[in-house]
Amino acid sequence: MSIRHALLALLAEGSKYGLQLRQEFEARTGEVWPLNVGQVYTTLQRLEREGHVESDEAGRDGAQRRFRITAGGQRELDRWLRTPPDGAPPPRDELVIKVQVAVRMPGVDVREILQVHRRRLVEEMQRYTHLKAEADPDDIALGLVVDAELFRLEAVVRWLDAADARLRRLPATPTTDAASNDRARPAGPAAEPAESAPAREEARR
């Protein structure tokens, strides 16, 4: 996700001045995506260098120049819309690791740990939802972004619920089970990445 493509998308509607571009970008993505002034213009300069946009007067300040999208820029935008998003590992991975550690640690109430995270996540969701609730229901831009965050958080909560259910189905002594596992393997941080890799793969399937 990048500002480049957002700017290209705005220019696809027609040629625009630099200042206009900045204002429209802010209006559409809302307060959840604040930018600094410089980011817009440096990105435009880069796009111009790459031949994706062109402007009539090269000498003037970025805010007053009028930009147009080129055929190359159009192609780039088209390609980007269809490319799957970057599969960067989401922050929950850390949570997965934490829970896995907790499962293997003796004397830890894993479900209590799950609840701590669940409460935190729900509290965060509450903040987003309340933001949405206070806003005008017609504010689509805000709704889209907040929903995205809510669904992301909800997915984590649901993962926690599923983990909870999985743990509940374990025999009555999950901690001793985990403890015996621990004893069987040499304890140490080195074991963690080795364990988490297949787990993540499983999660993707």
């Binding site: 959840v32 609840q115 669940r118 969701m125 509450q126 903040r127 987003y128 229901p137 619920d161 259910a165």
Partner: protein, 241 residues
Amino acid sequence: MSAVLSMSQVSKVYGTGNAAVHALRQVDLTVGAGELVAIMGPSGSGKSTLLTIAGSLEEPTDGTVLVCGDDVSTMSADAQARMRRRSIGFVFQDLNLLAGLSAVENVALPLELDGMGARAARAAGLRVLEELGLAERAAHFPDDLSGGERQRVAIARAVVGDRRLLLADEPTGALDSTNGEAVMRMLRAACKRGIAGVMVTHDAQLASWADRVVFLRDGRVVDQTAPSVGPATLLAGDVAP
């Protein structure tokens, strides 16, 4: 803040002996006027039982339930019925409306059951529907309403008159997200008018509409969220350009 619903040490056991199922164990819950509380938990955690006991549809095995300060367990069946039609509104997952009655008649029914004349009750029902933006649907019958509209009419019926307590059981369970959001907006709006709301759900998104989320597991209250911090500047650091 005055407590509209106050449950203390409420337990509920179904069956006896070996077959006994403990649906609730010593649950304490207080909900004040204007507050929307979500009870969240997996299925079988006792959340629906909590709601029905709060609404006097079932008797607790143990503990006390006060609605608007009155002890529900000492009331006669008729007094409970009167309390339900005067003070408590229910919204269930679906099939809330009585077939054969139009939207406004459905909304006016609790008032009529309480002895208000048909004309006055209808006027009151229309007023509530107007407030909730459903005025043009007033004359429609449940069959002609969409799922979301049916739930919104159900909420209108649950808040009509001088209601103090709104109890909702998965109120958006059968709806898609757009309709669900409309229903939740309305529920929240209703609570902001001074009604105490209790909503049970297993859905975190739904629960996040509440001012406070109470987590229920195996019949026990295990946790609850801090009172809402209110809208904040969000995500300032979360999104990379």
